[in-house]
Amino acid sequence: MDLRYTEQDQAFRSEVREWLEENVPRKKLETLDEKKAWHRKLYEAGYLGMGWPSEYGGRDARPMEQAIVGEEMVRARAPAPVNGLGISIVGPTLIHHGTEEQNQRHIQKILTAEEIWCQLYSEPNAGSDLASLQCRADIDGDEFVVNGQKVWTSGAHNSDWGLMLARTDRNAPKHQGISCILVDMSSPGVEVRPLKQLSGSQEFSEVFFSDVRVPADNLIGELNTGWRIAQTTLSYERGGNTLSRYTRMQESFNRLLDVVGIVKRDGAALIDSPHIRWRLGKVYADMEILRYSSLRILSRLERGERPGPEASIAKLHYSELDKAIQEVFLDILGPYGQQIEGIPDHIALEPDTDPFEPGSWAYAFAWSRAGTIYAGSSEIQKNILGERVLGLPKEVRADRVQATAQQASSSGNGDD
């Protein structure tokens, strides 16, 4: 064991920190163009797609270097890159499964935010049970014809392209009839209807597809292998970024420490209350655990291991912890914690609490409720841990019972 950062890591950290100090935008980015310009600047500095092979515009950076950039960005209160899903999910998917032509066509534009991407997976009837999705892509000559609906699509209203899972074989068992295709969001027949979120902003949307024609060349991998491809992309979502999540929590915590020193309740500074001290101590201890376990994951990634089902521990941990921590913050702050306008400067939470929203304690609180739903809900993570890490037998589930029954009857037919 050696949990020191190497000299190389430390030098890299200072380099990133210096660059951010000079380049982080001083005022809030309002327009999409401003956001794209910032994204491009990050890319040109070498801080996006860092881990990708150099032939695709990356720099083969180590996981530790990526984590350092993530952390330093939070510390510098730097806005997140606007093409976040492009960078975190679409790019890696293409690199692993795309053809040379697809990669040439898309990767550079992802990196430069010339084209913004969204993830078209969830549907009204296919959330956790993603494999039951029904949006269809039927082959017609050298085109797919797409019909159906997606929902909760983050950033759809800004997106030029979408990474879609669609059903391409309705007769196959549900996991085996899905394909992964790239959809141009400006195609005729695509309609994006923004949805207002609990937090008050409009960030995700419903997306409707009516006879949308997509070139067959936009298929990723083989036909009907989309499920396996999606599994690998889901694992990019889990595990890798936990250190920067810790850093975000820590930034809020440090801000809270300032606030509790100043704000009084019943005549005494909040920090003088033993109850508040106890809670602060507990929250900090819980956050430290997240830091330690993030370092543990990082050290595995550094050794070249991919995050396996254990990444579910990290996902479960940070998302549940975030909810718990935000509750404590709001308890301590009283009504200030719920104020979304007119909050006194010395109490306000300054850093952006989310790429898409202005910073406030209440927004951070609101967003904490999303983390245990998306990218595999907490319940789904616990199923994964129970079955794939602890080796517990699978639960009896209606869809499995049906599938078994169908299999039995179809093999019966075959005998006839």
């Binding site: 050696d2 001290r277 819980d286 370092l295 521990i313």
Partner: protein
């Protein structure tokens, strides 16, 4: 950044696991509960002779670090090992080592290293706290000797110990001033032990009364009246060591419950197929893995003398305090009626963890320490 064990550390863990599962199976633990001293002297001797002690080599130790001790203690938690390793090595041994008192080390550590000498630390009093304010036993210096008066409670393996390192203060002092550690031979005149039996029947403790016990001033470990910083450090190491032991107890409990959930059928299926049970086990796994990260980070931070070593120790102990009760307790829940029997070993882990929860700082104490360290700026990377 390397969080995984080195090859040597993996070998150490395997060695300890092999020794303990071989020598101290459940039947041995049960035998020891019924025995007079609560442990097997010969097994203890063989164990410390494996060359695994943190003591300097010149005094017969293996010069191993805190990470290695955490590995050993975690394995002990999986038994749970009944014996005075913690008392002799982690408590008294740490006090001697951290005092940097070469004479005392030369006098006690060689015998402790071959298992001939059993030691313990008498810290806790009627006031069961872990700060200097909890100390009221008095040590009065008179010329060449020192006279000790007071009562210590919950002294681990005091009945078996040959040497009781006793914490006492100079009359008239308070707080962190005037605190000394004094080596008292258990058979000195004026020392008497009173029986205690704890819920964790696999660990022995006793009440020790000191009535005008007189020993030479050479028996003061380190500098007279200046032992508090040493003790603070000893307690910190003990908190991490205890956390490691609780981690072992938790992981072992979880493994047993998990195996059971794969075998036990009710309502026509394995109970591990019920989400209520599966999710409980998944939460246990999360707690155990997070506990692993916390324990070994803290052990490493002590070895590396990291700026956040005290913080990390308090994080580890507070975390294991809250997780081990949950993990060991829920394991009992998964096992149903069998989990509530004496026959099944599960309760030994539950009780060992519960015992350790209140030692070397409870959860309130450590949350307090965490915040104090943060406010003082003693966090990771401070000073970089």
């Amino acid at each position: 950044m390397k969080f995984d064990f080195s090859e040597d550390q993996v070998m150490l863990r395997n060695l300890i696991r092999e020794f303990l599962t071989d020598q101290c199976p459940g039947s041995h633990v049960r035998e020891m509960i019924e025995s007079e001293t609560g442990f097997d002297r010969e097994i203890y001797r063989q164990f410390v002779q494996l060359g695994i002690l943190p003591f300097p080599e010149q005094y017969g130790g293996g010069d191993l670090g805190m990470v290695e001790q955490a590995i050993i203690l975690e394995e002990m938690g999986r038994i749970p090992y009944p014996g005075p390793y913690f008392a002799t090595v982690m408590l008294a041994g740490s006090a001697l080592q951290l005092s940097n008192d070469e004479n005392a080390m030369a006098r006690f550590l060689p015998d402790a290293s071959n298992g001939d000498l059993i030691m313990t630390l008498a810290f806790t009093e009627d006031d069961t706290g872990w700060t200097a304010d909890a100390i009221s036993a008095e040590a009065a210096l008179n010329g060449e000797s020192v006279t000790l008066n007071g009562r210590k409670r919950f002294v681990p393996f005091a009945d078996a110990a040959d040497i009781i390192l006793t914490v006492a203060r100079t009359p008239g002092t308070s707080g962190q001033d005037g605190v000394s550690i004094i080596a008292i031979p258990a058979d000195a005149e004026g020392v008497s032990t009173g029986k205690e039996m704890m819920f964790d029947v696999t660990s022995r403790t006793a009440t020790v009364e000191f009535t005008n016990v007189s020993v030479p001033v050479e028996n003061i470990i380190g500098e007279a009246g200046a032992a508090w910083p040493v003790l603070e450090h000893v307690i910190r190491r003990a908190a991490v060591a205890a956390s490691a032991e609780m981690l072992g107890a938790s992981r072992r409990s979880m493994e047993m419950a998990n195996e059971y959930a794969k075998e036990r059928k009710q309502f026509g299926q394995f109970i591990g197929q019920f989400q209520a049970v599966k999710h409980m086990l998944a939460e246990m796994l999360e707690k155990v893995e997070n506990g692993h990260a916390a324990v070994y980070y803290a052990a490493w931070a002590l070895d590396a003398d990291a700026p956040d070593a005290a913080l990390a120790a308090s994080v580890a102990k507070s975390t294991m305090n809250t997780s081990s009760r949950k993990v060991c307790g829920d394991s009992i829940q998964v096992m149903g009626g069998i989990g509530f029997t004496w026959e099944h070993d599960l309760h030994f882990f539950f009780k060992r963890a519960k015992n350790l929860e209140v030692l070397y700082g409870d959860v309130d104490h450590h949350y307090d320490q965490v915040l104090n360290e943060v406010l003082a700026g003693r966090v990771a990377g401070a000073g970089d």
